[in-house]
Symmetry: C2
Subunit: 218 residues, 2 copies
Amino acid sequence: MRKVTFGGANSFDNYFARKDDAVDWLIWTDDVAPIMAEFWKSIDTIVMGRRTYEVALRMGAGGGAYPGMKNYVFSRTMKQSPKKKVKNLEFISEDAAEFVRKLKAEEGKDICVMGGGLLAKSLFEANLIDEIGFNIHPVLLGSGIPAFHEMDHQIDLELLECKTLKGGCVMVTYRVKPPGEKQKKKLTARSAKRSKNAKNGRKAKSVKTPTKRKVRKG
Amino acid sequence: MRKVTFGGANSFDNYFARKDDAVDWLIWTDDVAPIMAEFWKSIDTIVMGRRTYEVALRMGAGGGAYPGMKNYVFSRTMKQSPKKKVKNLEFISEDAAEFVRKLKAEEGKDICVMGGGLLAKSLFEANLIDEIGFNIHPVLLGSGIPAFHEMDHQIDLELLECKTLKGGCVMVTYRVKPPGEKQKKKLTARSAKRSKNAKNGRKAKSVKTPTKRKVRKG
């Protein structure tokens, strides 16, 4: 089964871009390139929403498609690119989750969910995203295009890697836990007690003393 | 001048708590306690909004105040605690930013902005927050009480520390750069060229080729 990855460079307050789609705040250091080159080698397919495609189209050459990749744009209204002869670009009007579910079952390299959070939201809700990777930038943009939108359920993650890059960026990679995945770790006596306490309303107790509240703060 | 710190434990999609204020998703590992004990020693004052106070009041003993600390609650409507005899608790009806500006100039240990993002927003906008510290939990809650709200300007940060904790948490601390702070680092020939390119519209160029777009993704 092909892996579906979502991510990008985000601000600490979780925006992918300013409201006008500008990414002038991105930090371009030489330690990012090899990480991304490695990632780029692992994928052959990019899926994006119509809005992300329009940004790519406006900002870049290549008719908004990533060369060397199979590009799918989900849109109910747009049937083809305004630019002519765009290679490896296909417009999909069917349900994005259904389409990606089929793509995952096909032969091929991994799949990357590009750009805005709305497509990611629908794929998260259908439990189709396997990994997320973010390069957290040292900035609060204050407003912009959000990386995450509200979702209908919680997604549990497992930290795979955390790496500090030049310029104060923090690169994190998480595996998305499938729904219902149980904790692999066996409960020790101590954690079993904690777990029991949690069920017995530890949460309410936890803010009674400053000692406990420290943990909430941390 | 006393330092003002904002932060807490957040989900990767930047919520402090679920919509019903629940923090049952917090991971309680023994490596958090010493970090928070150290932080707790550095402060003697807590400021919070009325909403955060009401949550603290509902969930904990002590009339919602942190024992051993001077507690200030900002509210135009609430003049006193519904609980009687709450020590070290004061309700402030004046503008939060003005009040915190005065607090910073007083003698004392550092000041902690507790809980929800709305008070933090007004203090960020008045450039009164000096440091942020977050314990990023490996979860996307999907909805909840946001740590950050939209702000009227961008806040630049400097990464001070990034540490992986047990359970897949990532603890990050940033210094808030004062507005207009110039980059300390001298421009090298290469970065000067980059900087020049940036001014000449590198942003638009940056997505033209897949090589460059990798960086956007990263």
